[in-house]
């Protein structure tokens, strides 16, 4: 028991000290951001984390923060582990973080029921609970710019474009290569509906988490089924393996399309030349040719304050971190404008996020003209179901392959609402929305 007491004492002392720090930094906006620089998925966690970190460092260096207030940006390491993420949530709460960014679906699910109680909004960008797109049920959760269901829908649209129309899909075999976990199985209902609608055969190819790097049997079945297209809802080490196995088995890699989390530069690169033509969905551009990235290089990277090697700046996942930074910064700006306060709280942040309207002009104002398609959040739509495009790996970098694809909102939205309703009923006592709606027309 001695150790327990010791541990207890140390942590009590720690929390007291932490509270002291939080009180001292009153003239800054605190933001604790989850990262996973260690663990099985650190390959994607590091570039994303670097992007966000560098973006806020750049804002602090270039503009002195947002609206004249410094952003007290702090990372919290989760190792992609739910238990660590819970710690980070509590850490954010103790430090008055204005926003919780879980960066893992498990962590999002654990935090969602607490958000309206702790008054800390959650932003799970393109992951998490799809149903949380319904702002009427989840006023505190945001998952812009797109859900997995929209992604699967956009993938089928892409296939139809390539095949020459939806009527050509009839009789085709389309496979879903997915991680055998809730994340991987998300697109199944949408693909099943679309398969019925357009008459293609849907084949499922689950990959167990322990088998991520050993997919030969899965790709054997793909060859045997003569699958025409494969959608890869994969994660971490599973992606480069899929690309390599596809190439080895003679599957045309330009018919293998990854979800946006399967589009890292390091997912395609290890397969070498064989990966040429591998495709993935994306919602923002890659490369460093944007004023905002140049500013990051100038103010942060060149001063040696970045954790990222310079050649990685502008890679896909790095830019995703920057993308998330821009949305958050814009929401903070909105919150400041709405409330007239400089130092905002979590509640203000929620209003700011709900008023988010990233038009082309706003992207340009953030130094990112043409960086991404518009994102518009409303009180009932916390996702915006923005357009994606398909990019293709040319052996060195990602190149845009298709025009913007707009997910079919009229198809996906009712399913989202149904799922949100199911969540509210299965969680008896889920509160009805009482937060007033900010008019952002």
């Amino acid at each position: 028991m001695m150790f327990k007491k010791l541990a207890l004492g140390a942590s009590v002392a720690a929390s007291v000290l932490m509270a002291g720090f939080a009180a001292k930094a009153q003239d800054a906006i605190n933001f604790v951001h989850n990262t996973y620089r260690t663990g099985a998925f650190s390959g994607s966690g590091i570039p994303v984390g670097d992007g966000v970190r560098d973006y806020f460092a750049m804002l602090n260096a270039r503009d002195g923060g947002i609206g004249g207030v410094r952003i007290n940006f702090e990372e919290c390491e989760t190792a992609y582990d739910t238990r660590r993420s819970v710690e980070c949530y509590e850490q954010g709460k103790a430090k008055n973080s204005v926003l919780y960014v879980p960066w893992s679906t498990g962590a999002t699910l654990a935090a969602i029921p607490r958000a309206h109680i702790d008054k800390i909004p959650i932003f799970s960008m393109g992951y998490g609970l799809s149903a949380s797109a319904v702002g009427d049920v989840f006023p505190w959760v945001f998952n812009m710019p797109i859900t997995y269901w929209d992604g699967a829908n956009a993938f089928i649209q892409h296939v139809a474009q390539q095949e020459g129309g939806f009527d050509k899909l009839k009789g085709k075999t389309i496979g879903l290569l997915h991680l055998d976990a809730p994340f991987g199985k998300e697109p199944i209902p949408i693909l099943e509906t679309l398969a019925k609608q357009h008459g293609f055969n849907l084949k499922l190819y689950p990959v167990a988490p322990a088998e991520m790097q050993n997919q030969s049997s899965v790709w054997l079945s793909i060859r045997r089924d003569r699958t025409d297209w494969v959608y890869n809802q994969g994660w971490g080490a599973m992606n480069p393996t899929a690309v390599r196995e596809a190439a080895r088995g003679g599957f045309p890699v330009n018919r293998l399309v990854g979800v946006w989390w399967a589009g890292g530069d390091d997912d395609a690169r290890p397969a070498g030349d064989a990966a040429k033509g591998y495709r993935a969905l994306n919602w923002h551009q890659t490369g460093a040719n944007f004023p905002v990235i140049q500013d990051i290089i100038k103010h942060v990277v060149d001063k040696g304050q970045s954790l990222s090697p310079k050649e990685k700046v502008g890679e896909n996942l790095y830019n995703r971190g920057v993308y998330q930074g821009i949305l958050i910064a814009e929401a903070i700006r909105n919150a400041q404008a709405i409330t007239g306060k400089k130092v905002i709280t979590g509640e203000d942040m929620r209003r700011g996020l709900e008023a988010l309207n990233m038009t082309e002009a706003r992207w340009a104002a953030n130094g990112a003209a043409g960086f991404a398609s518009p994102v518009r959040v409303t009180c009932s739509d916390h996702n915006s179901q923005s357009a994606v495009y398909v990019m293709e790996w040319d052996g060195k970098a990602w190149k845009r392959q298709s025009a913007d694809i707009q997910p079919q909102k009229e198809m996906v939205r009712p399913l989202l609402e149904e799922a949100a309703k199911a969540f509210a009923t299965s969680n008896a006592g889920w509160p009805a929305r009482t937060e007033p709606c900010q008019n952002n027309s």
Partner: protein
């Protein structure tokens, strides 16, 4: 000086068989319990309660469970996280099917489901031992993890594949779900831990525990002495899995409050529990607590405690250091002190007994 048994005479058989024969031990235990029940929930911050105390309590039940199997009966299992998952899912199914029954009953009952599964996967232990049994229980771990993801009935066909903890009350006070206060959750967890520890401690000191230890020390000899190996080993698996199951239910319902359990109850957690047994001390109740406390508290203290006292350490570095410390300590203790931290505690007590005049 203060810790001395001089003058305490054992006049009855009951005195002689007491688990805590020394008065100071009993006082110390009472003090610790009083502290845990009356002081901790009111003075510690939410952060400490949520990130250290709740996982510590929930996991210590599982560590006791594995200790019964590994420490007392000498059977290695790598399936503890899987059995925890069985408990969590059973509790979820039970409380969604019968919401009117109190959740505390279901948390307890879910242990029986885990026990049944544990007995099933414990059957091979009659024929195989050591490393081979570890592999067999590893199969249980992977099978259960597979089942949690693949059988949608288990998570009520929830599209996110997760189990969400509904709001449940006791006498009108919410005890699970988002609105339950941390103090209430902590106290309920603590009650479970105290109750189950008392139960385990009585088990291992009684006839059943002695038969387990006989099997551990030499199973052929135990059989010759009339202990039925089948009963003893399966009993150990049942009790151990029961503890893991209750721990899993506590873990999800009182600590996490909803999670993607397929990834939560992964092999990683099984190993952590095993390390906790090794570090804390195989075959010791107090060792279970020391081990669980060490595994749970060390990462948090390194990550948040050190920066708070001014030692700059990034989260990523802390995570790596934790891995190194746990790994190194496990190997060190296995070689140098197989009885773990519990043995150190014993040595300390022994020294204290004769202090300050050791000769």
């Amino acid at each position: 000086m203060f810790y001395r048994e001089t003058g305490q005479f054992k006049t009855t058989y009951a005195d002689d068989m007491a688990i805590f024969p020394i008065r100071q031990d009993r006082i110390g235990l009472a003090l610790i319990l009083a502290f845990a029940f009356l002081v901790v929930p009111f003075v510690t911050s939410d952060f400490t309660l949520k990130t250290i105390m709740l996982p510590f309590l929930a996991l210590s039940v599982a560590v006791i469970g594995l200790n019964i199997l590994t420490g007392y009966t000498g059977l290695i299992s790598l399936g503890s996280a899987g059995f925890m998952g069985v408990g969590a899912y059973a509790c979820y199914k039970l409380t969604t099917i019968f919401p009117e029954v109190n959740i505390i009953i279901w948390i307890f009952v879910s242990g029986f489901f885990a026990a049944a599964v544990g007995v099933f996967f414990g059957l091979p232990s009659l024929r195989i031992k050591g490393l081979y049994l570890a592999v067999a229980t590893l199969a249980a771990q992977f099978f259960l993890q597979w089942a949690f993801v693949r059988i949608p009935w288990l998570f009520n066909y929830n599209p996110s594949g997760a189990i969400e903890v509904p709001l449940r009350t006791l006498f009108g006070v919410p005890i699970t779900g988002p609105t339950a206060s941390l103090e209430v959750k902590y106290l309920i967890c603590l009650c479970f831990v105290v109750g189950m520890t008392w139960l385990a401690s009585n088990l291992v000191h009684g006839r059943i525990g002695r038969s387990w230890m006989a099997v551990r020390d030499m199973d052929i000899a135990a059989e010759l002495m009339g202990i039925k190996l089948l009963n003893a080993k399966l009993m150990a698996f049942a009790v151990s899995s029961f503890y893991c199951g209750v721990s899993g239910a506590l873990f999800v319902f009182l600590y996490l409050g909803g999670a993607e359990a397929g990834t939560e109850f992964a092999i990683r957690l099984s190993f952590l529990i095993l390390f906790a047994v090794i570090i804390g001390g195989a075959g010791s109740m107090i060792g279970s607590f020391l081990g669980a406390g060490f595994i749970v508290a060390l990462p948090t203290i390194l990550k948040f405690g050190l920066p708070a006292i001014g030692i700059a350490i990034t989260g990523a570095t802390a995570e790596k250091i934790v891995l190194m410390i746990i790994g190194a300590l496990t190997i060190y203790l296995l070689i140098v002190e197989p009885h773990g931290l519990a043995r150190l505690w014993q040595i300390m007590k022994q020294k204290l007994r004769v202090w300050p005049f050791p000769y």
